[in-house]
């Protein structure tokens, strides 16, 4: 039972393009939605996070868009760079940080 569904599984983008990764969730009690970035041979690291009381959060080239009514949220990477090539995981949790539910991951490749 996958409570957070992530798509696509893999994504190829040209340098300078926009990368978009989507996630959907079922449990309306989720109240914290982080995105983690993982480079090969490394553990995941927090990239950006949002709470459901805002519809968008931007940090540099990375933006989370949140649609509470549709129970969807997405990560947009503007001006994608080869250094952004990594696996991205969306996640969700309820009332604290102890039981993050992760999506299946998206492997992003940005070609020069």
């Amino acid at each position: 039972q996958q409570q957070v569904k992530q798509s696509p599984q893999s994504l190829i983008v040209q340098k300078g393009g926009i990368s978009i990764i989507n996630c959907a969730y079922e449990n309306t009690a989720f109240d914290y939605f982080p995105w983690y970035q993982q480079f090969p041979g490394k553990g995941p690291a927090l990239l950006i996070a949002i709470r459901p009381d805002v519809s968008e959060k931007k940090e540099g080239r990375f933006t989370i868009s949140f649609n509470k009514s549709a129970k969807q949220f997405s990560l947009h990477i503007m001006d994608s760079q080869p250094g952004d090539s990594a696996t991205y995981f969306c996640a969700a949790t309820i009332g604290g940080y102890n039981k993050l539910i992760f999506g299946a991951g998206t492997r992003l490749a940005v070609h020069p």
Binding site: Q6, Q9, Y36, G41, K42, G43, P44, F89, N98, A104
Partner: protein
């Protein structure tokens, strides 16, 4: 910088062997976690601990146990390894205090192959 160290990066074990995966964090975090990462399945929580000698089952605890005798150290134990436990194992920690972001800090992973 927070550091989560997993002592073994690569292990090869035989079916039925007992396997210990060790994890140490240096930021005095209350919470520690063990995840398993498999392609197409993301990260799945095996066990977590919110205090010394305390543990709670995650989503896939079967075939695993854990030990937390000291605050900084959290061990994952496979009592009798099986081939379906071949995977990447990730340890993580965070602070459970109020006012924190809840950010998880991960180790670099231990890739276990069971033959």
């Amino acid at each position: 910088d927070v550091k989560v160290t997993q002592s073994s990066r690569y292990l090869v074990k035989r079916t039925g062997e007992k396997v210990f995966l060790e994890c140490v964090q240096d930021m005095d975090h209350e919470n520690m976690f063990w995840y398993r990462q498999d392609p197409g399945l993301g990260l799945r929580l095996i066990y977590f601990s919110y205090d010394v000698k305390m543990k709670e089952k995650g989503d896939i605890p079967e075939g695993y146990s854990v030990s937390r005798e000291k605050k900084e150290r959290f061990s994952l134990i496979l009592e009798s390894a099986s081939t379906n436990q071949t995977s990447m194992y990730l340890c993580a920690s965070n602070s459970g205090g109020s006012g924190t972001t809840g950010e998880l800090f991960f180790g670099e992973g231990s890739r276990l192959t069971v033959l």
